[in-house]
Amino acid sequence: MDTLLFGALLAAALFIIFARKRWIAATGFAVCFIAIALLFAHHVTSTLELSF
């Protein structure tokens, strides 16, 4: 999954360089953001034994 996400980041960066429309860059960014946030959520397995 991590390898795929670095691939997605690479694709988003290349979209920014080669695609001139803002919505393409924003879509690439948004897809990466959501995918990385989901992977982060997968690794957050507990609320820790801390008092918030």
Partner: protein, 225 residues
């Protein structure tokens, strides 16, 4: 309307935007451009040090949260990348400048959440933390510092509106340097992609405490600190 403003139409709406025609505007614009380049260079340096020194030289394999924080830094860096590219092409509108700063802020917020999570994992007294400390702070704590710096940087630029609207350089050497930074950033993503592929192999997720490169079954020996 002054000479340093032009009218553009966004749909049916007339918008007045400043154009960097005055000496002062150009100076601030160029400063804004090189500030974005410095942002990219700073994260290229951080990511390269984490990978080439701590991972390869010291043999400290990154945990899943460490990898996620690297992704957060890259996600945040897409903002200055967007601004730099449009500046170099001469197509940077104020809306593009805001979009770039928005990318930087949102990416830094996600990265900061990851760093805070890892800090909280090791916050109990007596916990040795994960990996080597640098100047008394672990790498995930430095990562949080960097994300806060990004938030402050973007906030200050936004306070000034379009004063620091980036203006790309006209000198061929400066443009070459700027494009070199752009492609070094791309190379940094590719290097991380390859390194994490060796680390993760064909598994879906990294283990909590990786001890070997799964793809080739090699366990590096951590260097003595």
């Amino acid at each position: 309307m002054s000479e340093t403003q032009i009218r553009i139409f966004v749909g049916d709406t007339r918008v007045i935007v400043p154009t960097p025609t005055g000496r002062r505007d150009l100076l601030l614009g160029k400063l804004g451009f090189w500030a974005q380049i410095a942002f990219l260079l700073a994260y290229i340096g951080v990511l390269s040090t984490a990978m080439f020194y701590f991972q390869f030289a010291l043999g400290e394999l990154p945990c899943p949260l460490c990898i996620l924080q690297r992704m957060g830094m890259m996600l945040s860096s897409l903002g200055p990348l967007y601004i730099v590219i449009h500046s170099l092409r001469g197509t940077l509108a104020p809306a593009d400048f805001m979009t770039g700063l928005g990318f930087a802020i949102v990416g830094a917020l996600l990265g900061a959440a990851m760093s805070i999570r890892q800090i909280l994992l090791h916050i109990m007294p007596g916990d040795p933390g994960y990996g080597t400390a640098v100047l008394g702070l672990h790498l995930y704590t430095w990562a949080l510092v960097s994300f806060v710096v990004v938030l402050a940087f973007a906030g200050v630029l936004l306070m000034f509106g379009t004063e620091f609207l980036a203006v790309g350089p006209t000198s061929p050497v400066a443009r070459y340097v700027a494009w070199a930074v752009v492609w070094i950033f791309i190379a940094t993503i590719v290097a991380n992609l390859i390194a994490v592929f060796f680390l993760e192999g064909f598994n879906w997720f990294l283990p909590d405490n990786p001890t070997s490169y799964e793809l080739i079954g090699w366990t590096p020996t951590p260097a003595a600190n």
